[in-house]
């Protein structure tokens, strides 16, 4: 496998996830400039009064095994770094749920999140969120909580 096929498959995987949740693809916010870089922008439409979300996904993949044992590997490559940012109905950093892979950080914080509604400086370990499917589900749960807090929904069971 080449890094090119890895990135093609990565695009397909992200494409499936965002389509599952109803997001629409847009042009990335900045051009991809180096080999192994992947960028994606997608927007959650808000026709029903729920919060709007703007996703910006950036990843950098390099050939070889993960040197730090983080298990961020696929097709003979590893994720060198990433920044997945979901801007939820606001413009400030605390309006974003974000997951970063930053190998300059200590091991327990190499994969970390900047939680929604928390100050910029807050970082929490987030190894369990390091998959597009899991992370976007987390974002959707935040969107739901925000929606219910805005609309004062009475408790209702199935």
């Amino acid at each position: 496998m080449t890094i090119h096929s890895l990135l093609t498959n990565r695009a397909a995987r992200w494409g499936r996830v965002i389509d599952l949740h109803g997001y629409l693809v847009e042009q990335p916010d900045r051009a991809m400039t180096q080999l192994g870089e992947f960028a994606l922008r997608a927007r959650r439409p808000a026709p029903y009064g729920d919060p709007t979300v703007l996703l910006d996904v950036h990843e950098l993949w390099l050939p070889g095994p993960d040197p730090d044992g983080l298990e961020l590997e696929a097709e003979g490559c590893y994720m060198r770094g990433n920044s997945w940012n979901a801007q939820i109905d606001g413009e400030q950093p605390e309006d974003a749920e974000r997951l970063d892979v930053d190998r300059s950080k200590p091991h327990r914080l190499t994969i970390h999140r900047h939680p929604y509604a928390q100050p910029n400086e807050v970082r929490e370990p987030a190894q369990h969120l390091a998959a597009p499917e899991r992370w976007l589900q987390e974002v959707e749960e935040i969107v739901f909580q925000r929606y219910t807090s805005m609309h004062d929904e009475a408790d209702e069971v199935d």
Binding site: H4, M32, R44, D50, V143
Partner: protein, 145 residues
């Protein structure tokens, strides 16, 4: 008194009624990952209407549509035209030729392949019956961290 959410989220029975299937059928869709859901409590799940719309589009795409699918609110045609202007090929042709290895394996071409894939994916799942997707003003991402 129970209050029904303002259409942004559906309960499982509401989804079942819309699809004309049983609630067990809806739970199976959720379990199989075909339909994403938010678990509120042991007995309460919600499906976002946005995700439900997308599911219905996928259903329609797998069938022969009886009526033409309305054009999307986002301007996919414009993005496709821009791609074609830059490359001389439509995104669909680019994707086909890339997969057939008829296009040189370079970093730039790979980036174009990713772009073509995402454009084709969007085109395959055109939104329908939407109010304006730009009802909320687009915001720029903050890259302050």
């Amino acid at each position: 008194m129970l209050k029904v959410m303002q259409n942004a989220y559906l309960t499982v029975p509401q989804v079942a009624a819309e699809l004309d299937i049983s609630t067990d059928g809806v739970y199976k869709l959720i379990k199989r990952g075909k339909l994403p859901a938010i678990r509120r409590s042991e007995r309460g799940m919600r499906v976002s209407r946005v995700a439900f719309d997308s599911y219905q589009r996928r259903l329609r795409h797998s069938e022969t549509p009886a009526t033409p699918i309305p054009k999307p609110n986002i301007d996919v045609d414009l993005l496709n035209a821009e791609f074609e202007r830059e490359t001389g090929l439509t995104p669909r042709t680019w994707e086909r030729r890339w997969k057939a290895k008829e296009i040189e394996d370079s970093a730039e071409n790979m980036r174009l392949a990713i772009r073509a894939l995402t454009l084709n994916l969007t085109a395959r799942h055109k939104p329908v019956d939407r109010q304006s997707t730009t009802a909320s003003k687009p915001r720029e991402t903050i890259h302050a961290r």
